[in-house]
């Protein structure tokens, strides 16, 4: 080996090198960055809503409940980002795993079954159950090409609510399961009304943990294999990556995050119905991932928060807002009626303005608009290669 004496510690100027340079120290520093960043956000949000424009809509408690639900969507978007953003698999039925997690906890801790299993271990159980379903769905279908997978997952996302709806014996059908126990910590039940902090902080911890884990996965050999599959599946296989297992892991990890979110949702709402997990949830989460900037963990989290706020808070508060500011014509319109229209327009507009998402990962940004200058191999013809 002659070429080994090279400059190993070359520090390139910014750009692509940043990633490589950070990779030695990344995990620890990144985890700290996630913890500090998220904690700051978590602290600032409840304070902001005390200020005038926000405080006129509703009180801090209501806002914080809203943020907690937004956190569930952030969690979902983070999980789907693993599947879609990192591994490049299009999953259109993600809400199914969300439903599976939620119903797992609903069955484990509600008067409907009579069981009352504790919340914290059930978080893990919900994640595992969802992951198992992810594997069951993925195993026969992950060999399919990208868009065939999309329709199969879409179908799965449709089937799960139908099954829940029609198996009244086990799920109480359309009525859903009510009276689900909230989490308990140190013998204290989380208050379901009034003090929003326990749920809020629990959500915060879940998001921080998910972000740290996803960052670590992204930097591991598994993350590299996902990226390789996204770039060129055949080349990845021809370099020894077991594409089926790798894709399945992405599927399972994405599903388990949704399962986690589902368990939390069930404990937060104390009631679950099949309607909570319809296709528009899957689509909304996908829109969050794409709009946030696929593959960028922070971007996806912020994108999820923004879209949730637009969809569930902003559009619903428009009436109050325009009544408050007393604009003559606008205050007469019932915006609630138009919320899906406005939501659709918002999706289209944001996508047209920022096709690569609000916060594209550095890598993704570079891959845009450069498709044209692909290098084509010039093949010499047989004549030139002919023997004398």
């Amino acid at each position: 080996m002659t070429a080994a004496n090279t400059k190993l510690s070359r520090t390139p100027a910014g750009g692509p090198g940043l990633r490589g340079r950070l990779s030695d120290l990344s995990s620890r520093h990144r985890s700290i960055a996630v913890i500090v960043g998220m904690s700051l956000v978590a602290l600032v949000l409840p304070l902001i809503v005390l200020l005038p424009p926000f405080s006129s809509f509703s009180g801090q408690t209501v806002w914080m409940d809203g943020f907690t639900i937004a956190g569930i969507y952030v969690l979902l978007a983070l999980g789907l980002n693993v599947v879609v953003g990192l591994a490049g698999l299009l999953d259109l039925g993600y809400a199914a795993f969300f439903a599976i997690g939620a119903y797992t906890y609903a069955l484990a801790a509600s008067p409907f079954t009579g069981w009352d299993l504790p919340f914290w271990p059930m978080l893990l159980v919900g994640a595992v159950v969802a992951a198992i379903f992810g594997i069951l769905l993925g195993a026969p279908t992950l060999r399919l090409r990208g868009d065939y997978l999309a329709i199969v997952t879409l179908g799965f996302g449709e089937i799960v609510p139908i099954v829940i709806l029609n198996s009244s014996k086990y799920t109480d059908g359309p009525n859903g399961i009510g009276g689900i126990s909230p989490p308990t910590l140190l013998d204290t039940r989380f208050p379901t009304t009034g003090n929003p902090w326990p749920f809020y902080l629990t959500m915060l911890v879940l998001i921080i943990l998910s972000m740290i884990f996803i960052y670590r996965l992204q930097d591991s050999r598994l993350g590299r294999a996902w990226m390789a599959i996204r770039e060129d599946e055949l080349a990845a296989a021809a370099n020894g990556v077991n594409t089926v297992v790798t894709k399945l892991l992405a599927f399972a990890i994405g599903a388990s995050t949704a399962g986690l979110a589902g368990v939390f949702l069930a404990s937060k709402l104390q009631t679950v119905t099949p309607n909570l997990f319809r296709f528009d949830v899957s689509f909304t989460v996908l829109a969050m991932v794409v709009l946030g900037g696929m593959g960028n963990v922070w971007g996806v989290a912020v994108g999820a928060f923004i879209i949730f706020m637009i969809q569930s808070v902003f559009l619903k508060q428009l009436n109050i807002f325009f009544n408050n500011v007393q604009v003559p014509i606008l205050s007469d319109i019932d915006f609630l009626q138009y919320q899906f229209l406005l939501y659709g327009i918002a999706l289209v507009a944001m996508m047209l303005l920022r096709p690569e998402g609000l916060f594209p990962s550095r890598r993704r940004r570079r891959e845009l608009h450069t498709e044209e200058d692909e290098v084509f191999a010039e093949h010499g013809d047989a004549m030139g290669a002919a023997p004398e």
């Binding site: 080996m1 070429a3 080994a4 090279t6 190993l8 070359r10 390139p12 692509p16 090198g17 990633r19 490589g20 990779s23 030695d24 995990s27 620890r28 198992i132 594997i135 069951l136 195993a139 026969p140 670590r216 996965l217 930097d219 591991s220 050999r221 598994l222 993350g223 590299r224 294999a225 990226m227 390789a228 770039e231 060129d232 055949l234 080349a235 990845a236 296989a237 021809a238 370099n239 020894g240 990556v241 077991n242 594409t243 089926v244 297992v245 890598r363 993704r364 570079r366 891959e367 290098v375 191999a377 010039e378 093949h379 010499g380 013809d381 047989a382 030139g384 290669a385 002919a386 023997p387």
Partner: protein, 352 residues
Amino acid sequence: MSARESAVTAPPVTATIMDAAASGDVLLEARGVTKRFGGLVAVRDVNLDIPKGGIVSIIGPNGAGKTTFFNVVAGIIDPSAGAVEFRGRKLIMRPRRTWIEPILWVAPSVIVVLIALALGVQNGGDEGLAITGLLALGLLITTFLLAIIRPPWYTQLLARMGILRSARPNDVVTAGIGRTFQNIRLFQNMSALENVLVGMHIHLRSNLVDHFASSRRQRREEEAAAKRARELLRLVGLREIDDELAKNLPYGDQRRLELARALASDPVLLLLDEPTAGMNPAETSAMTALIGRLRKDLGLTILLIEHDMRVVMGISDHVLVLDHGERISEGTPEEVRRDPKVIEAYLGTSAS
């Protein structure tokens, strides 16, 4: 051999290959390989022996079936007939009755349910049904996982039942065969270093727990892997481009990078699909020299596809000439060069 020994990460490939009973000096043995696409026979009944340490070339005019044959050897397409043996182990063959396999996935669960029904569970109440259901679900998951992970005994069981599939491309890599592509297929939006690191994937041992914990073991492994990857980049003559995205590299460097990536899996046999395609004469001779050096330094065996005869004549020990999917000549470069059939094939196709 030095490069092989400096592989810091994993046990050398040789240890992971199953049957030690390698058949003599022949590393790879293709027998009667045939591939049909619809009505077109792309490769017809081709045989090839690759001796250990040799450079064997397949040449032929455009459309001669070189790349098809090559893809069969690399496990990317299944042959219509014939088999490929690597180190005495049947690696690739015509897949038989592949549709049975999906049935095998569900068969155990169905059997359990049927037995339970035969025993009269439905009369026994909910608990029996629940147990049966769980058992069936468990079996289903187990068989699915087996089918995906494919432990050797599962493959052997399938072989015994006559429903074996060919090795997948990644199995071929694990067995010790690395390859490059004719039209370069790098991971365009990954850095040069990352490309090589993907090539080392099969030798990295960190698992999910390591990933989550970001364990010291994983960090050590990654550092060692990155060091080795840089060595490989230097070996193929790439400097100062470690963090450059693959697609931003000049064409010649992309070829070299692909070579480095293929070497990263520590292959015993290297398959090169037109490694000098699209190169100018200077680049071509540099690449030819590099290939020769790889054989000498790393003790690699190389299977080369080319239609540029000049490249082939310089470095090959043995040449196989294909035309219209059939073998028309075989021998040393000198013999092939003089073979009237070869001359006719080349001039004939170019004249028409």
